[in-house]
């Protein structure tokens, strides 16, 4: 199997990630005070997606792992997007 490398992330990075996640949480709450009508859910989902991306990249070490893991994540996300598209082929054309 492929060679293993251990990457140690400094605490400072984790601290920044935590602060960023908290900031985005604050932003999620803040935008609920603004009337965005149909975009409300979209904005909330967009912020949540960015947060999930940060968690995957740093806390789940995707940035430091082999490209195989990145392929897995991208593949899974692609399947998820296709599931949504095919489901919408029902809801948008009824």
């Amino acid at each position: 199997m492929e060679a293993e490398t251990v990457h140690i992330t400094p605490y400072r990075t984790y601290a920044w990630v935590l602060i960023t996640l908290l900031a985005f949480t604050f932003l999620t709450i803040t935008v609920t005070w603004i009337n965005l009508s149909a975009l409300t859910v979209l904005v909330a989902l967009a912020i949540a997606t960015i947060k999930a991306g940060i968690v995957l990249t740093y806390f789940m070490h995707l940035k430091f792992e082999s490209s195989l893991f990145r392929i897995f994540v991208v593949g899974v996300l692609a399947i998820y997007v296709l599931v949504i598209i095919f489901t919408m082929s029902d809801y948008l054309f009824r």
Partner: protein, 536 residues
């Protein structure tokens, strides 16, 4: 890969060497082979219960009108039959039993990547099955929704849906963890030199299966929790009276439950791909095509779910898209069948029981697959949707396919599991009863389905009587076949099995029968010019 070792100083995995004796030594064992056998014993019990429930339904259907019990009990019976057979037998099925028993040996590993997690998966399986079964005897009577728990009825019925749904939820976790374990095992623990394209094809099929288990099962998990939330908290997800959309339930349910059909059938195809080259003594034809078609089935099979919903009020656009995708998934399935047949061509066929069951699988699976296209086509689907035709189709896939592959697998790996042979003549007789009984039971359902007999009805019009009675007698023959097979395999010990009774070429036939605890005395290394099926 053919070197045999008949003498081994290490005790076999069946001998207790740990802290505990008897049952506890099994229940605390993290050995993948013991866990595989524990799944098998549990599944056999559930299978027999499921078969008996099916026979009780056939008994009621012997004549038109009420014979022994009323429609509410009939609804409860087919729900219980479906829950047991789908969630506790065929979904874990071959992957949990033979994937656990054989896959680590076939790839040259001592065990799976996470042995404790593997045992935990088994416990979850037992707990989930226990919850689902006890739901029948608690609360306001057994669930009567069918195994699909369709909303809004599953939200509105007063029967004990929540416990059954929660049982299925727990069973889903068992499936996810097994899938995760297998993916990591196949990525990290293959023998040195065994690249992915040198891995035997049963592990390949398990790899594709495992991805579906990991990616699709959480969707049904959350959907089932949404049903519970809707029943308890009155959140309007699916019930129109609460502002929900019942078609959304069907989407979410089938996004998992159609790929679940591939969770069942892919390992079955993998087993057949092992058996045919062994008993034809021929190198498997189109190795790469079979390997890649497993992944293709897993991938395309993920996007065909809504062919269960053509009559549910879905948009016409979605209908033709899903019909097209359904026809596409037939292509990789057909690739496998053509490759099996071509592997047999000019082979030295040895008609032993595992091969006989494998042939039975191909025949029945083809009927199941082709009739699936009738259902996948939009126009014909409208005519046969929710009729006995569908019952016949999915039993040809799930019993004729998965069931016969399971029987083939147990006759194939039995000598390796127990170090004993079984009586071939009785096994052949059992096959005869099973094959004839199966066809007599389910083929008439195609015909009465086309004639208009709806599924899940406890009563019927007089013109369906002959079909129903033929099915009843088929069910009896099938039951005799099952009893013959089980007594042949488990009632008395046969002759001692050699390490390689069938002349197989994969790693499990290089280790003693039964294998030692850690499978290999010397860990195997695959040479550059070696292949998994180097017959000729």
């Amino acid at each position: 890969m053919t070197e045999e070792k008949t003498h081994h100083p290490e005790p076999s995995y069946l001998v207790n060497t740990g802290k505990y004796k008897g049952l506890m030594s099994w229940l605390t064992s993290t050995d993948h082979k013991r866990i595989g056998l524990m799944y098998m014993y549990a599944m056999m019990v559930f299978f027999i219960v499921g078969v008996l429930l099916g026979e009780i339904m056939r008994l009621e259907l012997f004549r038109p009108g009420q014979q022994f019990y009323g429609p509410q009990m009939y609804n409860g019976l087919f729900t219980l039959h479906g829950i047991i057979m789908i969630f506790t037998v065929v979904i874990p099925g071959l992957a949990a039993v033979f994937g656990n028993f054989s896959m680590p040996i076939m790839i040259g590993a001592k065990d799976v990547a996470f042995p404790r997690l593997n045992l935990f998966s088994f416990y979850l399986y037992i707990i989930g099955a226990g919850i689902a079964l006890t739901s029948q005897f608690m609360g306001n009577g057994p669930p009567d929704t069918g195994w699909t728990f369709y909303a809004p009825y599953s939200i509105q019925t007063h029967t004990n849906v929540v416990a059954a749904v929660f049982g299925a939820f727990v069973l889903g976790f068992s499936s996810i963890l097994t899938g995760l374990n297998f993916i990591v095992t196949m990525h990290r623990m293959r023998a040195p030199g065994m690249t992915f394209f040198k891995m035997p094809l049963f592990p390949w099929s398990l790899y594709a299966t495992a991805w579906i288990q990991v990616l699709a099962t959480p969707i049904v998990g959350i959907t089932l929790l949404m049903v519970i939330a809707e029943r308890w908290l009155r959140i309007g997800f699916f019930d129109p009276s609460l502002g929900g959309d019942p078609v959304l339930y069907q989407h979410l349910f089938w996004i998992y439950s159609h790929p679940a059909v591939y969770i069942m059938i892919l390992p079955a195809m993998g087993v057949i791909t092992e058996i045919i080259p062994t008993f034809a003594q021929r190198k498997v034809f189109g190795y790469r095509a079979i390997a890649v078609s497993s992944l293709a089935i897993a991938l395309v099979g993920y996007f065909v779910w809504a062919h269960h919903m053509y009559t549910s009020g879905m948009s016409p656009t979605a209908r033709w898209i899903f019909s097209l995708l359904t026809f596409l998934v037939a292509v990789p399935s057909a690739i496998k069948v053509f490759n099996w047949v071509t592997t047999m061509y000019r082979g030295s066929i040895d008609m032993k029981p595992p091969f006989l069951f494998a042939l039975g699988f191909i025949f029945l699976f083809m009927i199941g697959g082709m009739t699936g296209l009738t259902l996948g086509a939009l126009a014909t689907n409208i005519h046969v949707h929710d009729t006995a035709y569908v019952v016949a189709h999915f039993h040809y896939i799930v019993f004729g396919g998965v069931g016969f592959a399971f029987f083939a697998a147990i006759h194939y790996w039995y000598p390796k599991m127990y170090g004993r042979m079984y009586n071939f003549k009785r096994a052949n007789w059992a096959f005869g009863f099973l094959f004839i009984g199966f066809n007599l039971l389910y083929f008439p359902q195609f015909i009465i389905g086309i004639m208009g007999m709806p599924r899940r009805y406890f009563d019927y019009l007089p013109q369906f009587t002959l079909g129903m009675q033929l099915s009843f007698f088929g069910g009896i023959l099938l039951l005799i076949g099952i009893i013959l097979m089980i007594t042949n395999l488990f009632s008395k010990k046969g002759a001692i099995a050699p390490a390689n009774p069938w002349g197989g070429r994969t790693y499990e036939w290089t280790v003693p029968s039964p294998p030692p605890v850690e499978n290999f005395e010397v860990m195997p290394v695959m040479g550059e010019d070696e292949e998994p099926y180097d017959y000729k």
